[in-house]
Symmetry: C2
Subunit: 176 residues, 2 copies
DNA sequence: CTGCTATATGAAACAATATTACAATAGTTG
DNA sequence: CAACTATTGTAATATTGTTTCATATAGCAG
């Protein structure tokens, strides 16, 4: 059962985070990646909402928790998490959000974790609500052929692509 | 006759710039936009190559010409030029490049200038060579329906979208 | 032309984002 | 344990972009 990319503003987000963290633990373990305490904490901060968060917001956030870090520490964790495909970076706003592609299925069905689920070799497609800040991540498969076509016509060799679509999400349209 | 998005590295770029500046003058005049001396100079700097250039590079560049400006002056000009659709901003690299969509036809055929040629309401699609830095700008029309489809399925109201595709251009593949 | 007004530019300080370089510590392996 | 690699700490610095207020200039009405 397919659920909306944009959860209701008042949904119970604790489910989202617990699933996400559970997935992250399993995924890193199986991929041989070290989700250290710091990296895990940073991921929790990023995953705390469906909005994108800035590096310095995370920094302040951690400071408020009593954990005072230098910017570089946060950036290093963000780099790791991005490499791992657990978070993405919104280029247009210098901010980061947790990858929300449906790992729920894998977890609830006890499927093996798909290691390359969010590999950056497939195109990234994001719907960004400029009202509430929520991000909806779309499976990039549908634009892949189109990108191939464009690239082939120019004999351009594609390594990575990212599509950022800005506008207004359903929830925000309803409450306007 | 359609020419490649990626000109040869050794092409005569003076044609590109003179056409571009001629178009910019006409376009701004007809659109009632004021392409002031400063804005025009900044546009020349941006259009000096098919690569993207950073705001502070432009600043240094102008300083080398004896024109010492504050950052804000450059940013204001860049904002104007972007609003006018004469340049674009690469979000992933905080840099700016001149819009190269074919105005040549209009100029050589004495067609009326199409005022909304590069309106930001249509999707922007860029091919970015990570070797030589050249940008190829693709007519976004082909991905428009796809974006519509994705957005409609989520009842998302699109305002703006930008697709950045990174890889290697033909010229650079040849000389590798 | 003269003064009025809107637009554009100048100048200085500052804010936000990100990186470099090197030291210290923790984890892993033999 | 010793040696090695990966991670984190610390401090300084680089890069990118904005706020604020003052000044200049273009376009226009009288
Ligand atoms: Zn949630
Ligand atoms: Zn919203
Ligand atoms: Zn050229
Ligand atoms: Zn190239």
């Amino acid at each position: 059962m397919k659920q909306s990319l944009f959860p209701q503003h008042d949904h119970d987000h604790s489910d989202c985070t617990s699933n996400l963290m559970k997935f992250a633990d399993l995924y890193c373990q199986q991929a041989g990646l070290r989700l250290t305490k710091l990296r895990r904490t940073v991921l929790e901060k990023v995953a705390a909402s469906h909005k994108a968060i800035g590096a310095y917001q995370i920094l302040d956030n951690l400071a408020a928790d009593g954990q005072k870090l230098a910017p570089i520490s946060v950036y290093r964790s963000l780099d790791f998490l991005q490499e791992a495909g657990l978070i993405h970076r919104l280029e247009s706003t210098n901010s980061y959000f947790a990858c929300q592609r449906n790992f729920d299925d894998d977890l609830t069905n006890n499927n093996p974790i798909s290691l390359n689920k969010c590999s950056e070799t497939s195109p990234l497609v994001f719907l960004i609500c400029d009202n509430c800040g929520a991000i909806g991540e779309v499976e990039g498969a549908s634009i892949e052929p189109l990108i191939e076509t464009v690239a082939n016509s120019e004999k351009f060799k594609v390594k990575h692509s990212q599509l950022e679509i800005k506008g207004t999400c359903t929830s925000c349209q309803a409450s306007s």
